[in-house]
Amino acid sequence: MTETQIGADTLDAGTDTRGVSIRNLRKRFGDGPYVLDGIDLDIAKGELVCLIGPSGSGKSTLLRCINLLEKPDSGVVRVGDMLMGQELRDGKLHALRPRRYRAQQARIGMIFQQFNLFPHLTVLENVIEAPQAVRGQGKAEAVENARRLIARVGLADRENAYPRQLSGGQQQRIAIARALAMEPDVLLCDEPTSALDPELVGEVLEVLRDLAESGMTMIVVTHEMAFAREVADRVVFMSDGRIVEQDTPDRIFTNPREERTRNFLRRVL
């Protein structure tokens, strides 16, 4: 197991070496059961963690709580030097206004299952929109960066196409380029290949593998066990809103300790 114990006690240390720390995270929708029932998790900078588990186990909600698309009921999330959605002031913890936490969201990349490209904008426009709006880049600079990223995901010749003119795999690669254009500290991927035809899965995983090798900190919710096994530094198995077991992919897939992990893997492998 990759040992990365970075606790809340190191909160005011240097900024650049830290990854993600989650403490006591709980979330439920309305009066339903807790979708996240006390999550503690640390992810080192540059680490790639795969979240696996049955549907409804809270994997996606965990990602969405990290980048504030969902507001946790309780708990604390730190990404790099940012206390997500909260701030320490006068010895108390205050919730941030949207204007403030948008700036935090901008530093976290998110890849969605359904891509969520902007259909009325071309590929290039999709990628340059946020860098111009949020990072204050000039158009020339944004376009130059975007072209480099679009080429990196292998679609240099499609910058003037609209999303609907692309295959699912191509759309997801553009979505990755769009997220990278914000130079995020962390990339969250929410089942990035689940909406793709089987023959298109490979090209997206190829791009993610390439990113992992370049040292990007990544948290990937996935059902692609082969990908998790090959690329992940660590695999976290979740069930019923809790982390059941986490270990190196080798040990998780060959010799899981927990019965629930074994049951799950027996069904999906």
């Binding site: 949207p98 969605f112 259909p119 071309t122 929109e129 946020a130 949020v134 609209y162 769009r178 914000m182």
Partner: protein, 305 residues
């Protein structure tokens, strides 16, 4: 339906005939018959209207471009344009308020739409026209506190101003619902993706949600524009000389009621026709990215930035 089994020899013959002669298409003789009938009815109606001396086409021609009619036409267009622009600005604000997380804004927006959609436009126009009786003076200050500034209501609100206020309040309530339906039609994933990129709320609305909502907003917005154009004719009750009132003033003197109403009718037909054509062009513009084919439309290539 006959359930006779298709014999293998028949299948072979079908293949041969299809290859050599093709298939006889389904004929629609009744479409031709009904088309001719409808054509005859329309032609008959046109001839009957054109030949009917009571319409007095010479009078219609005489007044069609007369100064007073054109002046009324100009006022109709001006009222329509100003109140439509204002209605959609106010309507957008109301729709955004209604969809915000702020309960006060939601309630204000809901109450506005409820109130101004409930009161008939005609009643509103008369009410605003007579507001001077209710509030002879309008003053600016703190309620129940000091007064900084005050003006006679009748000085402030001229008839045309009343017309614009009444039309805007009425149309904006409808515009708000049209825009809200458009905003609701955009997939929530679009907002989420933009939020995840850290885009500010206003920019998400302007650049991501509204352009996609426009496809749903435009058809009913076009209807609202045309209905506003016609609704301006109601301002004749508060003595604003729009197209209809201009015609009324003329026929009150010369009693040529029907030909002058024909002048008004034809002008309204021309204006709504122009608006309908314009609507089609605008709809094409906002269809950007909705098809799988063709990178650029006939309306220009936005793609090359």
């Amino acid at each position: 339906m006959s359930s006779k089994l298709l014999h293998e020899s028949e299948f072979a013959r079908a293949v041969e005939i299809e290859r050599t002669q093709g298939t006889v298409p389904v004929r629609h003789p009744w479409r031709i018959v009904s088309g001719v009938l409808v054509g005859l009815v329309v032609l008959g109606a046109i001839v009957s209207v054109a030949r009917n001396e009571a319409f007095q086409w010479d009078v219609v021609a005489e007044y069609f471009f007369s100064g007073r009619i054109l002046h009324g036409l100009w006022l109709t267009l001006w009222l329509t344009a100003v109140s439509t622009v204002l209605a959609f600005v106010v309507g957008t604000i109301l729709a955004v308020m209604r969809m915000s997380h702020n309960a006060v804004l939601q309630a204000v927006s809901w109450a506005y739409v409820w109130l101004f959609r409930s009161i008939p436009l005609l009643v509103q126009l008369l009410f605003w026209f007579n507001i001077g009786y209710l509030y002879p003076k309008i003053s600016l200050g703190i309620p129940f506190g000091p007064e900084w500034f005050s003006i006679e209501t009748s000085d402030l609100i001229a008839s045309s101003m009343v017309a614009i206020i009444g039309l805007t309040l009425h149309e904006s309530a409808y515009a708000a619902e049209i825009i809200r339906s458009g905003l609701l039609s955009v997939d929530a994933g679009q907002t989420e993706a933009a939020e995840a990129l850290g885009m500010p709320h206003g920019r998400i609305l302007r650049r991501i949600v509204l352009p996609q909502a426009m496809r749903v907003i435009l058809p009913p917005a076009g209807s609202l524009l045309i209905s506003t154009l016609k609704a301006t004719s109601m301002v004749s009750v508060i003595a604003v000389t729009d197209l209809l009132y201009a015609a009324q003033l003329i026929y009150n003197q010369n009693f040529l009621v029907i030909p002058l109403l024909m002048v008004v009718t034809i002008w309204y037909l021309i204006l709504t026709s122009l608006l309908s054509v314009g609507q089609q062009f605008v709809e094409k513009r906002f269809a950007r990215g909705t098809t799988r084919t063709a990178t650029s439309t006939s309306l220009g290539t936005e793609a090359d930035i």
